[in-house]
């Protein structure tokens, strides 16, 4: 059902802006996932729950210590990093050698466990961090930008760039990329792939932790919040292509736009269906994803 009365250009622009804002957020969430996927060929179905943990972490840091989410970002980063390393060391690394199905299922187990742990510890209630130093909107004529969302998006872009530079420039980063391209070769080159794995898993989790902190500045928080975000992240990663950081970033933005504009021009009820549809069509034409190899 197309728009009844014709659309003002600024309304369209507003939608594009909104699409970008949520899109960048998706990108950051997806990049963590694609890193894990790329390096150790594991789909982390608990990624959405990692996001949830990140959000709760920033919520409690605010409620208990009055720490503004913006400042709790480094803490969330560290916290989720440690959690990621822990989960890899004691759970995921154990199934790496095991059958493919076990690899798929184990992270499902983790996700069920985490989300219900959250219910157990913090009740299923909905929480929201009251307007922090980030609040209100910037208005440019008819276009208005939510300040928290804008900051979050910028933050996610910056974080993504940092990761990108880290992978390209630093020695460890190069090692991670090498492992991602060819684990045997990496082994031959004397890279300790086990260390690289736990490191990448940690970083992947840490990134989504940062995403959680940013998201918590304007999004409500509850134990099942990760679900849909996680689902979208998977399709973004697969859309962007197996383990491709750049791919995930671009795909994230595309999905953000697709969902917003799709919702605006067609039936909002279908906006996620549209996203999944795009994903299916893409992998049909290009099974390795947009930038996959």
């Amino acid at each position: 059902m197309l728009a009844r009365n014709e659309i003002m250009p600024e309304q369209l622009l507003q939608q594009i802006v909104n699409g970008l804002l949520i899109g960048f957020m998706y990108s950051l969430i997806a990049i963590g996932l694609t890193l894990i996927w790329g390096v150790m060929n594991i789909v982390n179905f608990a990624h959405g729950e990692f996001l949830m943990i990140g959000m709760f972490a920033s919520f409690w840091l605010f409620t208990v210590y009055g720490l503004d989410p913006l400042f709790s970002i480094p803490i969330c980063f560290l916290l989720l990093f440690l959690m990621g390393v822990f989960i890899y060391r004691f759970i995921v690394s154990k199934v790496m050698k095991g059958p493919m199905l076990a690899q798929l299922v184990v992270t499902f187990g983790i996700s069920i466990f985490l989300s219900n742990l959250a219910v157990y510890l913090w009740t299923p209630d909905f929480r929201l961090i009251p307007p922090t130093i980030l609040q209100g909107t910037w208005d440019f004529g008819e276009i208005n930008l939510s300040i928290p969302k804008t900051v979050a998006s910028l933050g996610s872009v910056v974080t993504s760039v940092c990761l990108f530079l880290f992978l390209r420039k630093s020695k460890t980063g190069k090692a991670i990329l090498a492992t991602e391209m060819d684990r045997e070769a990496a082994l031959l080159m004397g890279i300790n792939t086990e260390r690289i794995n736990s490191l990448s898993f940690g970083i992947g989790a840490a990134l989504v932790g940062v995403a959680g902190a940013f998201l918590s500045t304007y999004y409500y928080i509850y134990p099942q919040v990760g679900g849909l975000f996680g689902l979208i992240a998977f399709s973004i990663v697969a859309l962007g292509g197996f383990g491709s950081i750049e791919g995930a970033f671009i795909a994230g933005v595309l999905v953000g736009l697709a969902q917003t504009l799709g919702g605006f021009f067609f039936d909002p009820a279908y906006k996620y269906a549209i996203v999944f549809m795009i994903y299916l069509i893409t992998i049909w034409i290009r099974p390795q994803g947009l930038l996959g190899w």
Binding site: A102, F276, W284
Partner: protein, 321 residues
């Protein structure tokens, strides 16, 4: 492992007899409800196993086929007063057709990509049914309460008929799975699971055999779907097409032991009672403890027992021999 040894046969028959007399001994409704659920999920697991365990297509979208089955028969019953038993077959066929339609474009997807594609597909189906006014959209379909009879596939005063019907369905599924596993198809499925290259070099038409697997699996899942509709008498997308249902199916198959005929049955027999009993005993406290245990279990098993309970049993069995 493929062919039935006399030992297997005797044990199997013993269990079957046990199950047949169970409702005569146990008159309480709660155990019956649990057993019916066990059978239903076991059937879904067996169906999943054909495409997942044997052909290596790890589908996380079985709920779509389950739901399509439930919806087809219910829609036909409510709108055109078609007998549920005919609806059962119709549902199976529709599901198989849809499966083929989605399976063909996905025929070169493997592993994670297939898994995620299946989730995407199931979500699209769910959203569509949620907005599709022809099938009552989100309101769902309430089945009319016809007077109880086998022909109407409806029984109001007792669960026992449902119990036996579902048991029969499960046995049908097991027989199908057994024949698939021990036939040419089974060998080819396992070749495909290993890699498309090895399958093709042995002259296997990968696309065709993958489609076969998906369609058989979809048909059986849809049968279970029709049963669910007749059993609960109300269906809506949020209860029959949920991702949680798909995941449940994969989890129990994997837990029982994917790639073995009985695996999913064991999985269901262990997981469903745990889930139900913990819900009844702990659920009302409102602290997700039951699910907490559940998730923990899944994790531990996939780490320490990735071949599933069945793998464990057969290994013990070999030790004894």
């Amino acid at each position: 492992m493929k062919n039935l040894s006399p030992k297997h046969v005797t044990v199997g028959l013993a269990v079957l007899v046990l199950l047949i007399i169970f409702p005569m001994v146990v008159t309480q409704i709660f155990p019956l409800q649990i057993m019916i659920l066990v059978f239903m999920y076991a059937m879904l697991g067996v169906a999943w196993n054909i495409m997942g365990g044997y052909a290596g297509m790890f589908s996380f979208g079985q709920a779509a086929f389950f739901g399509i089955g439930a919806y087809t028969s219910s829609f036909l019953l409510v709108t055109f007063h078609v007998n549920p038993w005919i609806g059962l077959i119709a549902g199976g066929l529709v599901a198989a057709l849809v499966a083929a339609a989605i399976g063909y474009p996905c025929s070169n997807l493997r592993g994670h990509y297939f898994a995620i594609a299946s989730i995407a597909f199931a979500e699209i189906v769910r959203v569509h049914f949620n907005n599709w006014t022809l099938v009552n959209a989100a309101e769902g379909i309430s089945l009319p309460m016809l007077d109880e009879s086998f022909i109407n596939f409806m029984f109001h005063n007792s669960k026992v008929p449902y119990y036996y019907i579902m048991l029969a369905f499960l046995i049908i599924a097991l027989v199908v799975c057994y024949f698939v596993a021990t036939s040419k198809m089974g060998y080819y499925f396992r070749a495909i699971k290993e890699s498309h290259d090895v399958a093709e070099v042995l002259g296997v038409n990968v696309v065709r055999y993958r489609l076969m697997a998906i369609m058989i699996s979809a048909f059986l899942s849809a049968m279970a779907g029709t049963f669910y509709a007749q059993y609960v008498l109300y269906i809506d997308p949020e209860s029959v097409m949920l991702l949680a249902v798909s995941v449940q199916i994969v989890l129990l198959s994997m837990l029982g032991g994917a790639g073995s005929v009985m695996g999913p049955v064991i999985g269901a027999a262990v997981l469903i009672p745990i889930a139900e009993v913990t819900r009844v005993w702990l659920g009302h406290k409102g602290t997700g403890v039951d699910m907490l245990i559940y998730g923990f279990l899944i994790t531990i098993i996939s780490v320490y027992q990735p071949q599933g309970v069945w793998g464990l049993l057969s290994r013990i069995g070999n030790k004894i021999k």
